[in-house]
Symmetry: C2
Subunit: 321 residues, 2 copies
């Protein structure tokens, strides 16, 4: 275990992968080892910029991450990419997690790409991601990108894990489907219109100005930062440096104003409660399967309220231990 | 207590209001009384159509509910309206909950309007709403409308409380801000474009056809129902009957196919888990304030992981009881 810690601190990629696998495992002994490991790494964590990135399928997230990532690793900035995609109840299945999407970056020694665990609740996945960030930070990654797909609830969860949130849009996918979702726009610190090249150049300009108009009508997310809109082309490597300058600007302003630390503090507290809730529920689910299905039936048949069922489950948990 | 039950079963409005206040109270004795009451009412519940309604501010939700509600009460259909609006973290404050918005309906003896409780977690508000529905159904309401504002996470929570979900759109608010959010469209069983009158008539038609196009690209939510799009004017009472026919059609098809009951069954089971989680967290928060703030500090200072804090909190809970 001590060896694994040392290897992670020295940036060994195989050790990092092993640690994250441990974190994602549901086996109790793995979980114990993972927590021990994280304890050791914790004091070495916290020094990266944590970046959320969202956008609906087709806006070019992979191309953007590949181009953006390569530009950074060339500057000796170490970049990790984690993908969060809790399979949507309705659409089902995993859209992300395909390492081959970012081939060159995946081979880069200054980069680390990890696909999403395909199973688990949103709370569980948020915890894996948070813990994977500790490992990556301890092994010296400077930028951690948490990628998510802009169709569901995962954005809100991811926004609670990161320092800065980028919304990627494309001009070509039709205004409606493009879905500049107000809820997601509210989360964004930077809005990047991709595919601003060739035939789409004018459309991208138009999309960007539409976004600007929409932003004017919204309450600013922060007193210390005004949301900016950029037009880029990930494919043609146009405007990618500009994105990085904005990330650096953002971090500088947030750190100086103290908002950076306040935000991380709040996130820490939220994480305790989401972990508590997730762990308690899994404890109950393990402890009393027959009791659970009996209570489920009673609720379905309108014999007891769901709160009464909840109280019975909690009662069993408190007695069992 | 028995008297209150009787009064609710006979449709006494003051008794209904009193029961809902009891449900919303955080006092333990009130909660106990509420659960006792709900137990008595439970066998009389389940016979309404539960309708979710969402749309961003300005699309005319209140006007729609007023016109739709009055049309129904005139047919001797009893209509209740509950508003769900967990104050958004970013926009803050309550947008809904103003009884005066639906003045005529509020005075109607066949209607009951209840503003949202302004405090509480999303899980808590979902529970209040679920329990308030039991009271309303036991006192004979035929249709319960759960209104929410289409900007945040509450739609997903509400979709899990209702039989049918209606998305209200307006043609006039600009394609972007209008925010036909893909995530919310996925939840909708019926999409209603409001303000299809006067100058907006053509724009409404256009919006409806845009919606139709977007719908074609989505995976259908149900095998037994194809999502429909209607153009109405709540202000001029155009197309309102048509909305009701669609609600009736939907219920008929869903009941016949068995999907109606399956959905309610699943919702029951989900409700057990969300109530369990909510109750456990509140139990922990009450039990150990100083312990909590100590753990919060340790997590903020990177001394322990949030999962370790969670385990300590759970440990205390299990020992205390």
């Amino acid at each position: 275990m001590h060896e694994l810690t040392e290897k992670i601190l020295s940036g060994n990629r195989r050790a990092i992968a092993k640690a994250i696998t441990l974190i994602e495992s549901s086996r109790e002994d793995h979980q114990k080892s993972a927590q021990k490991l994280l304890s050791d790494l914790l004091t070495h964590s916290g020094n990266s910029i944590r970046l959320g990135l969202t956008g609906i399928p087709g806006v070019g997230k992979s191309t953007f991450i590949e181009t953006f990532g390569k530009m950074l690793t060339a500057k000796d900035i170490k970049v990790a990419v984690l993908a969060v995609d809790p399979s949507s109840k309705i659409t089902g299945g995993s859209i992300l997690g395909d390492k081959t999407r970012m081939e060159e970056l995946a081979r880069d020694k200054n980069a680390f790409i990890r696909p999403t665990p395909s199973k688990g609740t949103l709370g569980g996945i948020a915890r894996y991601t948070r813990e994977a960030m500790i490992v990556l930070e301890a092994s010296g990654f400077d930028l951690i990108i948490i990628e998510t797909v802009g169709v569901g609830q995962s954005e809100v969860a991811v926004a609670d894990l990161v320092d800065m949130f980028i919304l990627l849009l494309s001009p070509g996918s039709g205004d409606e489907l493009q879905g500049i979702k107000r809820g997601i726009m509210e989360l964004a610190d930077l809005i990047v219109v991709n595919k601003a090249d060739g035939d789409f150049k004018d459309a991208a300009k138009l999309a960007a100005s539409d976004v600007e108009n929409a932003l004017h009508l919204m309450k600013p997310k922060s007193e210390n930062w005004t949301v900016r809109t950029l037009e880029i082309s990930a494919l043609n490597n146009i405007g990618i440096e500009e994105v990085w300058h904005n990330v650096e600007d953002f971090k500088k302003l947030m750190v100086e104003s103290g908002e950076f630390d306040i935000k991380r503090s709040k996130q820490s507290i939220n994480s305790i409660w989401s972990d508590t809730s997730e762990l308690l529920i899994s404890k109950i689910k393990i402890s009393s399967e027959t009791h659970i299905s009996m209570l489920e039936q009673q609720v379905q048949q309108n014999k007891i309220t769901s709160r009464q069922a909840a109280e019975k489950l909690i009662g069993t948990l408190l007695k069992n231990d």
